[in-house]
């Protein structure tokens, strides 16, 4: 017998209702695993150092409280709402939340973002696994001359990534690790939500924490390795990361960097939370679960990312070695640091890259699930066929990134146009739908269903006015800062242009697929606009 809160007249897609999370902790760890990635350990410390050190934490925490957590709550709530009406994919969920076709077609962004990001992210994941492997078997040799460590580390990165030549990794070990990582991802997703993603996240997250704690202990006990340079110490490294430079708070770029970091770190606007939350029951607590997943992400980012990376690099390489982007810091600088550590460096290097691999795979797993949900409920594919279709699609896209590896142009193009602008766009769409179409009061009532804690009173105001305004400022600021360079890149570089054309073709395919799904759902008599038997207050 249906409960009074469910819509009795609305049949649900047979594929959609079968998958469920087994435990509350499982879904929290799966969402947190999706959020915790390379950016927590590599991007965050780099941003903090560049934008005022400890002072960076002021705009960072403001963005967390005003943008990150409210957006996460909105996504959890919309996801569960859509799931209760039988939809697990972003087009289905946003269709019922926004009550119409516009939401459904905009929901295609929730398919595009995770699946395209997966295509390049799995490659970085393969690098992490390969680095972990070579450290485990002792196959890393940066030579005996410390002055040559940096050059050797750069050569090693080029060997693994092929960043100096298109097609370089084909026919070499790099592709082997890509195949292994791709196989693990597809196998886990094929096992299903609870037996694959949830079961894996439940041991991978604690394992990642153990690796992080081990590396952190080693870094914090480094002392002053070179007595000739007493300034290069753990205390000096922590100071380099945390000493506040308040003058930076007057710069717009600092606030933009802090908000962007929070935004990307929490995986809001990614299409994953909305999908994961759709497998919850009506009695599950989305408020506490959303907050716990966000808190876990922050613990890894500030607690581990804020203490390990820059400190380790500073102790051995000084200030000039402790700044850099994600790839520079993680894959080129830190191997030099491990080489300086001597015999123990091999173990620390293995733990570091094992941790990065676990962080990456718990994220990449989450990127496949939204598209598979759509293939099943929207296009009616069986469990096996949906896994097969995803395997073919992501392999083709990822091999493109693998092949066009020179200067990582294909990867960078996908990361900017989809992994950055796409995420901003989806977040804007979701915020506006939740705050203005779904209606805030209804959203808050929906969030409180089954919740053991209440949303803060300011949530309504924040999600309706503050978050969209905040997002708009970030989008405009980010576009002004970054867009001209990428547009120029498109004009100059055929790989960048062809990659964007491929993304455009995929968008067209997704919109056509949403059209097909819409027709199927109508033919099945589903309540695809969410107008029947609405939830009770």
């Amino acid at each position: 017998m249906p409960s009074p809160n469910e819509s009795p007249a609305a049949p649900i897609p047979p594929q959609a209702s079968q998958e469920r999370w087994q435990t509350r902790l499982g879904v929290i760890l799966a969402v947190a695993g999706s959020a915790v990635g390379l950016g927590n350990f590599l991007r965050f410390p780099g941003q903090a150092v560049q934008h005022g050190g400890g002072a960076f934490m002021i705009p960072y925490f403001i963005a967390l409280l005003l943008l990150g957590i409210p957006l996460a709550w909105a996504e959890w709530t919309m996801g569960r709402y859509g799931g209760q009406r039988g939809f697990n994919s972003a087009p289905g969920v946003l269709g019922v939340v926004a009550r119409g076709s516009v939401g459904r077609y905009l929901g295609a962004l929730g398919l595009l973002v995770p699946i395209v990001v997966y295509m390049y992210y799995v490659l970085i994941e393969a690098w992490c696994l390969r680095y972990a492997w070579v450290y485990l078997v002792g196959d890393v040799d940066l030579g005996a001359d410390p002055t040559r460590y940096a050059a050797q580390a750069t050569n090693l990165f080029q060997e693994f990534s092929g960043s100096h030549e298109d097609g370089y990794v084909f026919g070499r070990d790099g592709l082997l690790f890509w195949v292994i990582v791709m196989g693990i991802n597809l196998w886990l997703v094929h096992r299903g939500l609870s037996r694959g993603v949830e079961a894996f996240s439940r041991w991978a997250m604690p394992a990642m924490a153990v690796c992080a704690i081990a590396v952190l202990i080693r870094v914090l006990t480094l002392g002053t390795p070179d007595p000739a340079h007493p300034e290069l110490s753990v205390s000096g490294g922590l100071g380099f990361m945390w000493n506040p430079n308040f003058a930076k708070l007057g710069e717009f770029s600092t606030w933009l960097a802090a908000a962007s970091q929070i935004f990307f770190s929490l995986s809001v606007g990614f299409g994953v939370i909305i999908n994961y939350a759709s497998y919850l029951s009506n009695k599950d607590d989305v408020v506490l679960s959303g907050l716990t997943a966000s808190a876990t992400n922050e613990l890894f980012e500030v607690g581990f990312g804020g203490l390990i990376t820059v400190t380790a690099a500073f102790v051995f390489l000084g200030a000039s070695g402790a700044v850099g982007g994600v790839f520079g810091l993680g894959f080129q600088t830190l191997p030099v640091v491990f080489a300086h550590m001597g015999g123990l460096g091999r173990l620390v290097g293995f733990l570091w890259f094992a941790m990065l691999f676990l962080a990456a795979i718990t994220s990449s797993l989450s990127m496949l699930q939204p598209f598979r949900a759509f293939l099943r409920e929207g296009l009616g594919l069986s469990f096996r066929n949906s896994s097969l279709a995803i395997g073919v699609l992501v392999s083709a896209g990822s091999l493109w990134v693998c092949y066009f590896s020179r200067d990582l142009v294909a990867l960078d193009t996908m990361d900017f146009w989809v992994g950055t602008l796409g995420i901003f766009s989806l977040a804007c769409v979701q915020t506006l739908i939740f705050g203005w179409v779904f209606e805030v009061d209804k959203g808050i009532r929906e969030a409180h269903r089954g919740a053991s804690m209440r949303l803060p009173r300011a949530f309504g105001f924040v999600i309706r006015y503050l978050a969209p305004a905040y997002l708009l400022v970030i989008v405009v600021g980010f576009s002004v800062q970054e867009l001209p360079g990428y547009v120029q890149g498109l004009l100059k570089n055929p790989t960048a242009r062809n990659t964007l054309l491929g993304i455009g073709a995929f968008v067209v395919f997704l919109l056509a697929a949403v059209r097909v799904a819409e027709r199927r759902w109508r033919a099945q008599g589903l309540d695809l606009n969410g107008t029947r038997g609405d939830t009770q207050p």
Partner: protein, 41 residues
């Protein structure tokens, strides 16, 4: 590291640690409404 550096680091770590402990204690203490045992396929 300056005193201000120590203050910012300590407060930041204390905040994320306290938030995480608060959340996990609440999650683990609150009885879930049900534990599913059905196969998800």
């Amino acid at each position: 590291m300056t005193t201000a550096g120590w203050v910012f680091m300590t407060l930041s770590l204390a905040f994320v640690l306290a938030l995480s402990v608060f959340c996990y204690v609440k999650v683990l203490r609150t009885k879930p409404h049900e534990e599913r045992t059905d196969d998800d396929r």
